[in-house]
């Protein structure tokens, strides 16, 4: 797997060991979990498509954000998104959506966005709660192994040099110009990449899991301080949705970066563990720099 293939006299392409087996397995289990948690979460949201701040909130408590539908004088359905005092017409996207037969329905979210596609809070919860367990178990394995073998510290924690403002700025410029690291620099994550991954692993995922836990009245009795941390149950529910939205944003950026950096090489590296990089010929240091 690691034979070098000289291109020119000056350059060679070699495979380096990029991702440890545990990283690869937990990554793909994570993909499976997220692919189910997001649409099943939207199914649950559809049962009460409104967000509040504070410990309580229901219909008459003025949601901060609300999706709904109204019937117009000529019996047409109009979907709306109300945020603060503003009301946006979202007919066709939110509130009032068409099914596969072109019929209009009073439904907060489009059919493609929910699991199952038809309305079933009971099934949405089943999928969501099962895969939430798997998601947490998977993250626990990733973190424990990552702490034990040094992956988190060595590969995700930015070095002091990387956190230097000038280095960070240079990395921002590289990203804006879509210049991807080559040669030796490709062996390691760049500073923005480290900060993004660390932000997801250390901030977003714990937030989405802990706010998810506070949705459970049983857990609220066991850990009352947790729900206080998020300002009450309806605040926690809102934060759960915001954190999930930020995870979607991360995934979109992550996928764009994979495509721009070379999708075959990048995806292959997350399956086989080996990443192909270009190095100067005759200069092939050890190939196990970043497991």
């Amino acid at each position: 797997m690691t034979q070098s293939q000289p291109l020119t006299k000056a350059h060679a392409k070699i495979f380096v060991h990029r991702h440890a087996l545990v990283t690869r397995i937990t990554h793909w289990i994570n993909v499976l979990c997220i692919l189910i948690l997001l649409p099943s979460g939207l199914q649950i949201l559809m049962a009460h498509p409104a967000f509040y701040w504070g410990p309580y909130g229901s219909d008459r408590d003025r949601p901060a954000l609300e999706i709904g539908a109204q019937e117009t004088d000529d019996n047409a359905l109009k979907g709306f998104l109300r945020i603060g005092g503003k009301t946006l017409d979202t007919t066709g996207y939110l509130g009032a959506v068409k099914d596969a037969d072109g019929e209009w329905h009073d439904r907060a979210l489009p059919y493609w966005a929910t699991l199952p596609s038809y309305r079933s809070l009971a099934l949405g919860r089943r999928w969501h709660l099962f895969f939430a367990w798997l998601f947490v178990a998977n993250l626990a394995v990733y973190c424990l192994v990552g702490l034990a073998n040094g992956h988190l510290r060595r590969d995700l924690l930015p070095t002091r040099k990387q956190l230097n403002p000038r280095a960070l700025l240079a990395d921002v410029v590289h990203h804006v110009k879509l210049q991807f690291p080559r040669g030796e620099a490709a062996r390691h994550y760049n500073p923005l990449q480290k900060l993004a991954y660390l932000g997801v692993v250390a901030v977003l995922l714990p937030t989405v899991i802990l706010t998810g836990l506070t949705m459970s009245p049983g857990m609220d009795a066991i850990l009352p301080w947790l729900i206080d941390l998020f300002g009450g149950r309806q605040s926690a529910r809102t934060i759960h949705f915001i954190a999930a939205s930020l995870i979607v944003l991360f995934i979109l950026v992550h996928l764009v970066m994979v495509v721009l950096a070379g999708p075959i090489n990048e995806i292959r590296s997350m399956i086989t563990g080996k990443l192909k990089i270009e190095v100067e010929a005759g200069h092939e240091p050890d190939r196990h720099s970043a497991p």
Binding site: S58, A122, W133, M215, M219
Partner: protein, 258 residues
């Protein structure tokens, strides 16, 4: 400890096979779960985990009067549509009696006055609906433990079943009458009460007059309204469609602590 509707044998096999392998469909023995059963199994895990984490004695948060919701939403049945209930309502529940029977040594018939004469508990708690909304209200009534201990439960009793006056659905198989059930851990929990008032006033019809269950560490659908009869049973599979409640019979978790 294993008071749960999910068979323990299957749960253990599930654990032994390993979450990942089973989820991906590897090495399924002939009588293994269907996928639907598999994802439903998370309920057993949640129940065991919450009970193990001190769930037997942990208390739901109690709030102050300043925290009350200005509006407490009415959900589910708004008014039971049976002549029997209309008759009870007409004389303001003067002839209403709560029947306590099943696996008890001393069956009871308690009037509203009897329930009000028992030691009372008032609690301001947050009601979390499975749909996602919450409301805070003050509930008052006798602890269920006070009522059950007067009925002298038999050792075989494992669940308390609440039979209600309302039909949420007039289903062809006759199962549309509302009912719910809880284990005896929740039944004897100090915050589990038979509430006859909300925010200092007798329960409105919408909120379950004359009496509704409050089981504060579970979601709203467990808090049966219009309770007519409490039955102690050993198993739940002989009731309704066999899952221990109106909504559990329709795909929702029996254990609604999550």
């Amino acid at each position: 400890m294993s008071r749960i509707v999910i068979p323990r044998r299957k749960f253990l096999r599930f654990s032994a096979l390993g979450l990942g392998a089973t989820a991906l469909g590897f090495s399924r023995p002939a009588d293994a779960w269907t996928f639907e059963e598999l994802i439903a199994s998370a309920q057993g895990l949640t129940y065991r985990a919450q009970r193990a984490l001190g769930g037997r004695h942990s208390m739901a948060r109690e709030f102050s009067a300043a925290d009350l919701s200005p509006d407490f939403k009415v959900n589910g049945t708004e008014r039971p549509d049976t002549p029997e209930y209309e008759a009870l309502l007409a004389d303001q529940f003067a002839s209403w009696k709560l029947r306590v029977d099943g696996l008890v040594a001393t069956p009871l018939d308690l009037s509203l006055a009897d329930l009000r004469a028992l030691p009372q508990r008032a609690q301001i708690t947050r009601h979390d609906c499975v749909e996602g909304w919450s409301a805070i209200g003050q509930w008052q009534g006798p602890q269920l433990s006070e009522v059950l201990s007067r009925a002298n439960p038999l050792p075989a009793a494992r669940f308390a079943v609440f039979h209600c006056a309302d039909f949420l659905e007039h289903a062809a198989d006759g199962t549309g009458q509302y009912y719910e059930s809880i284990d005896l851990i929740d039944a004897f929990h100090p915050q589990t009460i038979l509430a006859h008032s909300l925010n200092g006033a007798p329960l409105s019809v919408g909120h379950g007059a004359p009496v509704r269950l409050r089981v504060e560490r579970q979601l709203g659908y467990k808090h049966a309204k219009y309770v007519m009869r409490i039955e102690l049973v050993e198993r739940l599979d002989t009731l309704g469609r066999g899952k221990g409640g109106y909504w559990p019979d329709r795909g929702y978790e029996w254990y609604a602590g999550i």
